[in-house]
Symmetry: C2
Subunit: 221 residues, 2 copies
Amino acid sequence: MPDPTADSPRRTILDSAAHLFARKGFAATGMREIARNAHVNLAMINYYFGSKIDILRILLDEFFTGFLAEAEIHLTQPADLNTKLTAYIHGAIRYFSRNIDRHRVAIIEFPFEIPEIVDLKTNYVRRLIGLFHQNILPPDSSRPAANLDAFPIAIIGPALGAMMSSFFLMSPIISKLRPVEITPAFIDWYADIIATLFLHGVPELLSRAGMHIPSTPGDPS
Amino acid sequence: MPDPTADSPRRTILDSAAHLFARKGFAATGMREIARNAHVNLAMINYYFGSKIDILRILLDEFFTGFLAEAEIHLTQPADLNTKLTAYIHGAIRYFSRNIDRHRVAIIEFPFEIPEIVDLKTNYVRRLIGLFHQNILPPDSSRPAANLDAFPIAIIGPALGAMMSSFFLMSPIISKLRPVEITPAFIDWYADIIATLFLHGVPELLSRAGMHIPSTPGDPS
DNA sequence: AAACTAGTCAAACGTTCGTTTAAGTCGAAC
DNA sequence: GTTCGACTTAAACGAACGTTTGACTAGTTT
């Protein structure tokens, strides 16, 4: 019987690759480096995975499959739209925080010129859009493409995704300017900000902080 | 006199490198490929730039310097905060659209492990935050770090940046799902959506499209 | 005319890349 | 006890990498 424990070479290699891909990028990470980091022999990687790009494909599949499952939980619950959207945002950001390396790889690693990877991502995005059409958007918006120009989900969807990912993607810079410790409490606080921003805009965040947007330039009160 | 025309090898090489870095990534792009694309001899690149990473540094410096100049124009104008923010968002997105390749390189190319590049980016972000503190945030917020936790610019800033960049970064996927032509009219339309989303939240976009957020699940009207 | 300079080039430097090969280990199956 | 298959290994493969060298051109300076 093969060994399915957490210390199996397969999983060790995948975790090691995710760690390195997230920090150096796919192209800049060498097979020997993955092997060294995972404490396995170089040839074992090709034995288990075939090729380097197969590792990337598996990491992406793992990440997006888990994300779609998480999204479906929150989007299909019987609740009003605001509740579903808030739950979706919180669930997504918690999922990112549980899979920081894979999230970074899945978002950043974006070789235009490897159509195979672009197609893989496109497919998952298509399924996510399907979830939104069935559970979030007004029922009449799922029919014709006409009012998709009026409510441009192809713009707002990526924008929301980018908002939710922003902290994780820019954390190397953010933590230099204002060091943060990624605790569950921080993640919830962060998700609250993103959800509020998406659902109510920045003035709501200002007023929560006891500030407001002055209507006259130079008038602080 | 050296030749400062647009066809100088320097500029040709930089444009070629930006084009390839944006599509394949810094690490996956070879010097020979840049040379071939720019129709110059391989050795000329090292003659003009010294090393590969120097090309990246120059591209990032060009992009961020231009971006800061653009941001300063809109943030320092005498107007109310809403106007300044809207102008900033439109200006930034127009700047991205004018420098698509360099924008992509500047945002995506993020080797954790090359501190030199991280420091370069951190410095420019610091200067951008300075612009906001001096021109946008309520005057009392520029003093103590206390209420920066109440109004977390370290979260909202990156989130806005990610929103503005989202279309350009994900365009390989977006254009597969819904082909778009990047015209000035489209850019303005896109910037309008992002500005509305940031300043008023998604319900405003829904109501503009003649939709609204139903408060009862399954109630479309 | 000679010396100098910036630019351009083909060729080669040493290193690292992803992958493959062929030999070997070891427990289970027969 | 032998055979088998899954696993592991050191070594090597050819190709591509970033960079350097040294010769050569052509325009300017002295």
